[in-house]
């Protein structure tokens, strides 16, 4: 088990290094000289003083070799210094940490809620294939998949904020402002989680060990609870990790509609303002977290299914 964790961690470090190179390359990929870009964003003037550009280049270390620049940048990044935002002049790290906390809360609430509905619903549907609940579940899945967030979000505001007046329509103050955006974000993952749970459980329910458990005197429901659910939840973990990593980048649509200061909003603003350090930092944070989440999912997967231990360690 520990061998596996160490192995995963070393892969994780390697991948983060690759990501750092890619993040470092972000401003290089954008056309032009970063020094000119910075000065332009400060002065909004296309006629730049060449001396000012040159002195800024020296100040930023852009006259060094690429390798020297990269290791300088990496050294700072490792110490938590991702530079300052062009737009707000605030440290990139603290801006991202704030936005990430918002997006994390939102994503976990939405996905947790989706899972809370999907696991029992998918399992019950699989237990009586072709039954009433199974039919209703299929219908619900299709409805949820076909409900776009940009439609559901305004409609939910209309109903709960304007007509009923029970929930705030926008902003980020307290748990009540979390409900509508989390609900809007949860619909599609809920549909997919339900579908995956149902498919996995219908396989698991036909597994020989379920019959064997019943032959030992467990009822069908007990067999499903004690020996089916854990096995059936394995593929759901994989999909949960994928969605979690995806939602950490924030949902631009939902965050803009509900005026939530999350990663989606931050990225949106950074792109609009050509805020290179912010984009770099956000890139590192999001990809890095995605890798961490997938690694955690791998480890969790093996924790639940011990039969994978031998296979992974090889």
């Amino acid at each position: 088990m520990w061998k596996l964790v160490l192995q995963r961690l070393s892969i994780l470090v390697a991948m983060l290094l690759i990501v750092s190179v890619a993040a470092f390359a972000v401003p290089l990929m954008s056309d032009g000289d970063p020094a000119r870009t910075i000065l332009m964003s400060r002065t909004s003037d296309f006629n730049l003083d060449p001396d000012a550009v040159e002195s800024l280049r020296t100040e930023l270390g852009l006259d060094r070799t690429l390798a020297a620049q990269y290791f300088g940048w990496l050294g700072h990044a490792l110490r938590g210094d991702l530079g300052f935002s062009f737009a707000t002049r605030q440290p990139v790290l603290s801006e991202i940490a704030r936005a990430l906390a918002v997006s994390l809360t939102l994503a976990l609430t939405a996905l947790g809620w989706a899972l809370l509905v999907a696991l029992p619903l998918g399992t019950l549907a699989a237990m009586r294939p072709g039954g009433k609940l199974d039919g209703a579940t299929t219908l619900l899945i299709q409805t949820l998949v076909a409900t776009p967030e940009y439609w559901f979000a305004p409609v939910s505001v209309l109903v709960f904020s304007l007509w009923l007046g029970v929930l705030p329509s926008a902003g980020w103050q307290g748990p009540s402002s979390l409900i509508l955006p989390a609900l809007a974000l949860s619909l599609r993952p809920m549909a997919y989680f339900t579908q995956i749970t149902r498919a996995a459980m219908s396989d698991v329910l036909q597994a020989p060990y379920i019959s064997a458990a019943r032959a030992r005197g467990l009822s069908y429901n007990q067999s499903v609870l004690r020996h089916g659910l854990r096995n059936g939840s394995l593929p759901v973990i994989t999909f949960f990790a994928l969605w979690f990593a995806g939602l950490l980048g924030g949902s631009v649509v939902v965050e803009v509609i509900f005026a939530i200061p999350g990663m989606g909003r931050l990225l949106y603003d950074a792109v609009i303002n050509n805020d290179v350090p912010m984009l770099q930092g956000a890139f590192v944070a999001m990809v890095g977290l995605a890798i961490v989440i997938n690694t955690a999912a791998d480890v969790f997967y093996v924790l639940i299914n011990p039969a994978m231990r031998g296979r992974h360690a090889q």
Partner: protein, 345 residues
């Protein structure tokens, strides 16, 4: 392989009513007019070992699942009765059945490793049939005793193991411990040694025999392996295409099989090459036998009928009844003894 020696435990006639009594059991495919088990009669006495023999597709495993009311979706009991200690199981509610399965009636299966939940530890699964759920520690100690009882070395460690950490033989011993946990009266063992190495097969059979003697256990052993039948069972029932074609005391039937199918099975199992060097086989296949609705289902493959053309009209028109030959020996065949034994087998 070395098999346990024969166990003629039926010396003194048991006067009690049979423990398991199956009458006219029919299992059909849901929504289709096709029967997989066609009117099966079967009894297992107290402390008796009965072997149910037949080739793949003869309905043996379906019978095992039907007896414990664990048929998978798509198969259903359409008729008949299964009485266990005088209690009818067909139509009994799932809730009542949970009190019977694992307690009165336990099961062993083929492929023991796939019968264990890969995400759950051995001791959790072995403890499930235990009647009284004591403290965690007491239950664990009981499980360790059970594992030791079925000859598992280092039972404390094995109790905490997962199924992928067990060999096939070890997994079957674990299944045996779980089967014995509820102190059952009847064990239905469906090909319990088929997936195992030959040496492990003998160990598991010896374990079965020991438990059978120790507990006066009744066993319904489902197998296609006639060497196991002769070494292990008191009585044998030969099944073909969902029907019993011959049943009776094992020694007699193994020595003088009356039904052409039993004779052919035994000849094939000896693995003695014929004059031309080929191993004996039964011509044709049993896969289409289920769709034969008139006459004897074995007729298309029967060497006795082929040798005696005057039998053909009877064999293909009406299915023979299961007729007694005395001493609990019954067979389902139109041919006379002379016709059956006339061929140069």
């Amino acid at each position: 392989m070395t098999l346990p020696t024969s166990v003629p435990t039926q010396g003194a006639k048991d006067t009690r009513a049979p423990l398991l009594e199956v009458r006219n059991l029919k299992v059909g495919i849901t929504g289709r007019n096709k029967e997989v088990v066609r009117g099966l009669d079967l009894t297992v006495g107290h402390g008796e070992v009965v072997a149910l023999v037949g080739e793949s597709g003869s309905g043996k495993s379906v019978t095992a699942l039907a007896l414990s009311q664990l048929l998978p979706p798509g198969l259903e009991i359409t008729e008949g009765s299964v009485r266990m200690g005088g209690r009818e199981l067909v139509g009994t509610s799932e809730k009542d059945l949970t009190g019977i399965r694992g307690r009165d009636l336990s099961m062993l299966f083929q492929q023991p490793q796939t019968m264990l939940d890969p995400t759950s530890r051995v001791h959790v699964q072995v403890a499930e049939p235990l009647a009284s759920k004591g403290s965690g520690r007491a239950t664990f100690a009981r499980v360790v005793d059970l594992l030791r009882g079925v000859g598992i070395p280092d039972p404390e460690a094995r109790a905490r193991a997962f199924s992928h950490e067990l060999s096939g033989g070890m997994a079957q011993r674990v299944m045996m411990a779980a089967a014995m946990a509820g102190e059952p009266r009847l064990l239905i063992a469906d090909e319990p040694t088929t997936a195992l190495d030959v040496t492990v097969q003998a160990q598991i059979l010896r374990l079965l025999r020991d438990e059978q003697r120790k507990r006066d256990l009744s066993i319904l052993l489902i197998t296609h392996d006639l060497s196991i039948v002769s070494a292990f069972s008191d009585r044998v029932c030969v099944m073909y295409a969902g029907r019993i074609v011959e049943e009776g005391p094992t020694p007699q039937i193994m020595k003088h099989p009356a039904h052409p199918y039993t004779r052919a099975l035994i000849r094939c199992s000896l693995l003695e090459p014929e004059a031309n060097g080929a191993l004996p086989s039964i011509p044709g296949s049993s896969s289409r036998a289920l769709s034969i609705l008139e006459g004897c289902r074995f007729a298309p493959r029967c060497h006795v009928m082929a040798a005696a053309p005057d039998l053909e009209s009877a064999c293909c028109a009406t299915e023979p009844a299961l007729e007694s030959k005395g001493q609990g020996w019954r067979t389902r065949c139109h041919a006379t003894d002379a016709q059956t034994h006339g061929d140069a087998a």
